[in-house]
């Protein structure tokens, strides 16, 4: 089984991610599917992370957390966020199949980021 996205759709997605997230100071954002494939990735400046490994781990992590939610009788946990000293990482479900991951520094507040991510997901959903 496979699926494919064309130039137009991907341009549309990248455009949204750039304008709404990278341009407001998010360091790195990527859209992945639950199998761990990378659909789109954007970075402020050069690529500094091993994004393929990150995607594999993020998909696994999200799957594990969702499975835990089910066991304790929750549909899902709405906030998936890890805070570091300098960098933070935030996961957000776009749909059953897709996940949006952002990496950002301490200059951006979590509240603002969540607001932006919600907007982005609304827009991306129409394209996917």
């Amino acid at each position: 089984m496979s699926y494919s996205l064309g130039q137009k759709q991907l341009d549309g997605i990248e455009d949204i991610l750039k304008k709404e997230l990278i341009d407001v100071g998010v360091q790195c954002v990527f859209l992945i599917d639950m199998a761990g494939n990378i659909i789109a990735d954007l970075h402020e400046g050069e690529v500094v992370h091993d994004i393929y490994s990150l995607a594999a781990l993020a998909a696994g992590n999200f799957g594990a957390v969702s499975a835990m939610a089910k066991i304790i009788g929750e549909d899902e946990f709405s906030l998936l966020f890890h805070k570091g000293k300098k960098e933070n990482i935030h996961f957000s479900k776009v749909s059953q199949e897709f996940l949006l991951i952002t990496i950002f520094g301490n200059l951006i507040s979590l509240g603002f980021l969540r607001l932006k991510v919600t907007e982005v997901i609304d827009k991306i959903k129409h394209i996917l």
Partner: protein, 201 residues
């Protein structure tokens, strides 16, 4: 489920090494990583216990170059083979495109192989994937142990107990010594790409 990026002209393919605990799945990926260290720049990601057993998965990205103008990115995964880790094992199968079943050729592991294969079928069913339709390669591992006088299942016995329904390509291998490790990988990549191509037409 492979992802085809028309913009970057790139295909991402997921191949999973499945099989009983201690069968040699991680050893396969470690060998591939060493063997192709020139081409695989990334570190292998492993989530394991202190005793070196896989806890969640191993992950190794492998770029095999271009086919028909598309960059082919193969993502190799292993699952944890221990029975108790079924929840995480199933998660790794999500979106799988091709499977290598690593069986342990030691006589004492005969039943473990069979139950791991049954478990694969069950877990694939959860994702509505038919084990008879997905590209599958069998690897009968640890053949090197014969030299040490450890009783091993014969190729025919292994074929009979594991592969008579599937008739999948099968390799006698030693992941530790690197025998037929690359051949196994090449075979599953080849079969998976053919199956993707067919579907895409």
């Amino acid at each position: 489920m492979a992802f085809i990026n028309q913009k970057k002209k790139e295909v991402q393919v997921k191949i999973v090494y499945y099989g009983p605990g201690r069968g040699g799945k991680t050893t396969n990926l470690e060998y591939i990583h060493r063997k192709f260290s020139e081409r695989i720049k990334a570190e292998m990601v492993t989530i394991k216990t202190q005793g070196d057993r896989t806890l969640f998965f191993d992950f190794l990205p492998f770029n095999i170059g271009k086919i028909k103008g598309y960059d082919i990115k193969i993502q190799l995964y292993t699952v944890p083979g221990q029975v108790k880790y079924n929840a995480t094992r199933a998660l790794v199968l999500r979106g799988v495109d091709g499977i290598v079943f690593v069986a342990d050729a030691m006589v004492v592991r005969k039943d473990k192989n069979i139950s791991a294969l049954d478990n694969l079928q069950e877990n694939l069913n959860m994702f509505n994937t038919d084990i008879y339709k997905i590209p599958l390669v069998m690897q009968y591992n640890k053949m090197d142990l014969a030299k040490q006088g450890i009783p091993l299942l014969s190729y025919n016995t292994l074929e009979e107990s594991l592969n008579c329904k599937f008739k999948a390509p099968a390799f006698k291998a030693s992941a530790l010594k690197g025998i037929n490790v690359v051949q196994t990988m090449k075979k599953i990549i080849h079969m998976t790409l053919i199956s993707l191509q067919k579907e895409f037409k």
